[in-house]
């Protein structure tokens, strides 16, 4: 237990260092963007048909939220705020704290991503086991091929295909939006049902995106465990097939925790495209919004949060690993 905590602490410190590096990187990145939020706001309003004088006044307010301090001062200010868990205030949201904006968007990314991950994990792992056990048959081959293909297909191609097939062609699933607008949000059946049906396409996209990774990793892992002597030994001791399958699954699943971390990162990265296509008001969309409006603090915050999610996923994966693997746990 002491070793576990110690390891956890080390991981967290390494994670914090990474957060600092990423925060600095983000800061530099974001401040090298051309254009300023005031101009953008002005042109946005003009294109909406707002009269120039009103547009100019409004743009001036937005521009008022931009900092004109020297970069280095801004950087230390930013780091200081970060230490207090403060991500600054948004420009395009006229001074609303970035943390609040992100907090309202995060569930729409985190939950579909997690649900997708859980679904793909179950299907992918099960598929991987089948593909490994039946690897010399046609079905096993096809299953493996499906995994490779899914792992290869670009996320937006998948999203578009799903949208086209299920929405445009067969018209069985809604596309865009998070729920049916006519329903009142809350703990009521129709609304929850609506949220779920609206989540089907994005969640399926997330799920299909990582399905291949799980399947391929699980397959190769199961194949290698199947070749492990202790499985044959268990068979020769007359251990029942179900127990043997549990032995295989538990041993084979270990390497998947590295994939888990990668998947989370990949999915959060992919959320930009998927949320754009399915019009989900999550972090990816927020990032695009902030880039379009040159909302530096928001952009930095969203980017940082996505990165922190990846770092956390990495830490979590390693911890899970050490919980499951006694060789690490008792080391």
């Amino acid at each position: 237990m002491k070793g576990f905590l110690r390891r956890l602490l080390m991981k967290l410190i390494a994670g914090l260092v990474m957060v600092w590096v990423v925060a600095t990187f983000t800061f530099v990145l974001v401040h090298s963007l051309p254009g300023n939020p005031g101009d953008i706001e002005y042109d946005r309003l003009i294109m909406q048909g707002t009269p120039p004088e009103i547009a100019q006044a409004k743009a001036a307010v937005v521009a008022g939220f931009t900092s004109h301090e020297p970069l280095l001062q801004q950087y230390f200010g930013y780091l200081g705020q970060l230490l207090h868990g403060n991500l600054g205030v948004s420009i395009s949201y006229s001074g609303v704290p970035v943390a609040d904006v992100i907090a309202s968007a995060a569930p729409w990314t985190v939950l579909p991503v997690l649900s997708g991950l859980v679904v793909s994990f179950i299907i992918g792992v099960a598929g991987g086991v089948i593909a490994a056990v039946k690897r010399s048959t046609r079905w096993g081959g096809l299953l493996t091929l499906s995994g490779s293909l899914m792992a290869g297909i670009p996320s937006f191609v998948l999203a578009l295909l799903l949208a086209f097939l299920f929405h445009t062609l067969w018209q069985i699933l809604p596309y865009g939006d998070t729920s049916d607008v006519t329903l009142t949000p809350g703990f009521n059946g129709p609304y929850i049902g609506s949220v779920i049906t609206h989540a089907v396409l994005p969640v399926s996209t997330y799920a299909l995106l990582t399905y291949g990774g799980w399947l391929l990793t699980m397959k190769s892992s199961v194949v290698s465990v199947l070749g492990d002597d202790f499985i044959l030994a268990a068979e020769l001791r007359g251990i029942s097939p179900v127990t043997r399958m549990r032995y295989i699954a538990r041993n084979a699943i270990l390497p998947l925790f590295t994939v888990l971390a990668i998947s989370v990162g990949y999915m959060f990265g992919g959320s930009v495209l998927i949320e754009d296509i399915f019009d989900y008001p999550g972090l990816g969309n927020l990032l695009l919004h902030s880039i379009g409006r040159r909302d530096y603090p928001l952009m930095g915050g969203a980017f940082l949060l996505i990165t922190v999610a990846i770092i956390l996923a990495n830490i979590l994966a390693e911890l899970l690993y050490s919980v499951i693997d006694p060789r690490v746990r008792r080391a």
Partner: protein, 295 residues
């Protein structure tokens, strides 16, 4: 001495390749698809030099004899556009794959071979590259630098995408490092360059090749996605631009008229992915002499 082993030793690499390829029909299909698109990328722009003809009176025409895949928003032929657009997509993917291979292999090899401080500092950099979410980074970068041209796009994708290869190469190098033949080579006094280039590299080549083909798929996805999202300005039409136009300007999701314009590039990407995936199987066996011999 087994006569069988001797017979195998006499086989030329070409015959081995052919044998490996022909073992599963999928591999041949995969190779055919890759060759097909490569030819398209090389010859496409020559087939249709200059700008594609526009025809304001024939916008979003349905597939017909004159236009096999219909026309786009300006009345240009979709088939021609797909063919011309292939070069950009493949050239960029090839460049980024090269950059990734060079960077990833070098960094992974050096880190794994030298260990110690070199290793840990290189691996911190690699961790960083792997942690930064790739696609959002590209989106942000695209507003700073208009990397629309193939070389630039390839460089950007390659420079942000080498982490996975470096890590794979490093772990492979670390495990090879413990193998007797490397200790022997060092014991014989062979130079580090010799050891890395002659002894390590050939053993790592299969991993690099596999990773590379996989990353090519990823790169195609990423570049097309950037155009699809419309964050990268383009100098000429390509598959991503077509998708963007089809969805956001052509209403292909809502109107069947622009459908062929949407599906043409989509199907191309799918086919190419399928081709590479099918072919990967053969690469694995080709580069791995033991796998080849076993069956």
């Amino acid at each position: 001495m087994s006569t069988l082993a001797a017979a195998r030793a006499r086989r030329s690499p070409w015959r081995v390749t052919r044998r490996v390829l022909l073992r599963k029909p999928g591999r041949v299909i995969g190779l055919a698809i890759i060759v097909f698109f490569t030819l398209m990328a090389i010859a496409g722009p020559m087939l249709y030099p200059g700008q594609l003809a526009v025809d304001p009176d024939n916008i979003y025409a349905s597939p017909s004899g004159a236009h096999w895949l219909g026309t786009d928003f300006a009345g240009s032929d979709v088939l021609q556009e797909v063919i011309v657009g292939a070069r950009y997509v493949l050239l960029t993917a090839a460049i980024s794959a090269l950059v990734t291979a060079a960077l990833g292999t070098t960094i992974g090899l050096v880190a794994g071979y030298h260990r110690g401080f070199t290793d840990s500092s290189l691996m911190r950099v690699t961790d960083f590259v792997l942690t930064i979410p790739g696609f959002p980074l590209l989106v942000v970068l695209s507003t700073i630098w208009n990397f629309g041209r193939p070389l630039e796009m390839g460089l950007v994708l390659g420079v942000t995408g080498w982490g996975g290869v470096a890590r794979a190469v490093r772990s492979q190098t670390l495990s090879l490092r413990e193998r007797g033949f490397l200790e022997a080579a060092r014991g014989l006094g062979l130079s580090n360059t010799h050891i890395i280039v002659r002894e390590l590299l050939p053993n790592i080549a299969p991993y690099v090749a596999m990773n590379l083909l996989l990353s090519v798929i990823g790169f195609i996805g990423a570049e097309v996605a950037l155009f699809f999202l419309g964050v990268v300005p383009f100098t000429s039409s390509n598959w991503g631009v077509m998708l963007n136009e089809a969805v956001f300007a052509g209403g292909a999701i809502n109107s069947p008229q622009a459908l062929s314009y949407l599906l043409a590039p989509l199907v191309c990407i799918l086919l190419l992915t399928l081709g590479i995936v099918l072919f990967l199987d053969a690469i694995d066996e080709l580069f791995n002499p033991r796998l080849r011999e076993r069956s």
